[in-house]
Amino acid sequence: MTAPLLEVTGVGKRFGKLTVLEDVSFSLAPGEALGVVGPNGAGKSTLLNVVAGVLPADGGRVVLDGTDVTRTDAAARCRGGIGRSYQVPRPFGGMTVFENALVAASFGAGLRGRAAADAAFAALVTAGLDRQADTPAGTLRLLDRKRLELARALATGPRLVLLDEIAGGLTEAEVPALVETVRQLGREGVAVVWIEHVVHALVAVVTRLMCLTYGKVLAVGDPQAVLADPQVIEVYLGTTMAGDDPGLGDAA
């Protein structure tokens, strides 16, 4: 087995008295895709923020390709190969779609001039935004903002991509294209952590599935096995799935 690209060991996170993550551990090999499911408030987005360096961990370690990055800031982790998307999109509203991706290619991937422009545009093509390259990002609708999150994450030239609910709201025809994009990342050796409520999209591409609840890992392993786990059905699939898809629609 190849050396792990990402090793998360015993990570914890508290907001005041509220424990959001408790002793979460997992590792990821290059090219591997890990799906993350769990009810709202389970700590999924917090986990991504801790891995990406946006939030400091209160305990445990995050190791990227053998380097301990637990105390490193988000910008340095991005330059080290972690590209991420935000669940609630954070576009640079006053810049065009292309310039948004160009920021990622210039500073995340460290490219300059022509190379930066090409990488930025290629990421827009992959995310399906190339026709809106000159549109101000602030005028995009929610779905396109999510596409822009994906494009920017890809334009950083990542070795590890953290995706936070980017499939919610896509049409049935668009989901397979997204799944194919994630699969292609795996073939290029890029590891993926993907939080998603669109479970069939996840199962189509991830090699492992992790279910979080109340900040703890409830189950992790083969996707079908995790989905068949009675506890997972109890806390996630069986009881909450029907009303549990906040990413749907263009309402924002």
Partner: protein, 335 residues
Amino acid sequence: MTATVERAASAPRVRRGGRGAWVGAGLAVVAVAVLGYLPLLTTRGTQVDLVGLFSLVVLGTMWNLLAGYGGMVSIGQQAYIGVGGYGLVYLASTVGVDPFLAVPVAAVVCALLAWPTSYLAFRLNGGYFAIGTWVIAEVVRLLVTQVDALGAGSGASLTGFAGIDPTYRIAYVYWLSLAIVVVVVGGVYLLMRSRLGLALTAIRDDPTAAGSLGVGVTRAKRVVYVAAAAGCGLAGAMIVANTLRVQPGSIFSVDYSAMMIFIVVIGGIGTIEGPIIGALVFYALQDSLADLGNWYLVVVGLVAIAVTLLAPKGLWGLTRGRVELFPTGHRVGSR
């Protein structure tokens, strides 16, 4: 997906300018040429007035760089205006440096002072940063008033020009000030077109997202803070070279921050054109309402309220981005 992959191979050319850039460059050249010729046509009083306008353009441009691009709302830039002004007087009158050389040296002193100060100021954010910068400016003012060599509380006069005929002195100061405007506005334009400018624009819109995409947010802000200090130092030196007198109460006055904010908000924040327009508006108001006494401030306040209500993005914002005389963006032509 296959169709899009083929298109990716031929990524379009990135355009940085457009027709507006040529119009802008042409206007800038004409304006500088006309302004440069003026001392041969006008009175000394007009030149002194115009240097006042030039200092407003520099101050507005610097505040816009800080707040409009760097996201740093400072109300303490008078610290560097004062250090620039006092630096000129001290270097020229006491050290004996040629005053025209002392102006850029005073700006370098401001930059050297701003760099360590940034580590203090950057511990604060948002409103706290604004108040913190003001406190720093007050500390600098109080320190300066303790130094007898600088005239303590009563200030000092600039004597370095003594050997020059007033007509020439005023023209030279005018040309120096015009050159500073060109360097400052042109410098900000080139900065915003550069890689750092791309980072700053991203920081302006969302610093957290910029950090997540690899932008060194604090480093970029520090560069801007130091550059803005140098620019404000140039403006301070320009003001003192024009009036030949420096007093702690006026050169360190928080009124400068109020003026800078007015100029940028009225003209249009986050644009290079905005502060120039704002400075022209403020100068015109100052000039035409000078006889009104305190009512002048009331009128300025009403204008500020009217513009922020009717044109929230400032006067230049009324162009809705359709006109860009100083374009900094990247277009690929696939709207």
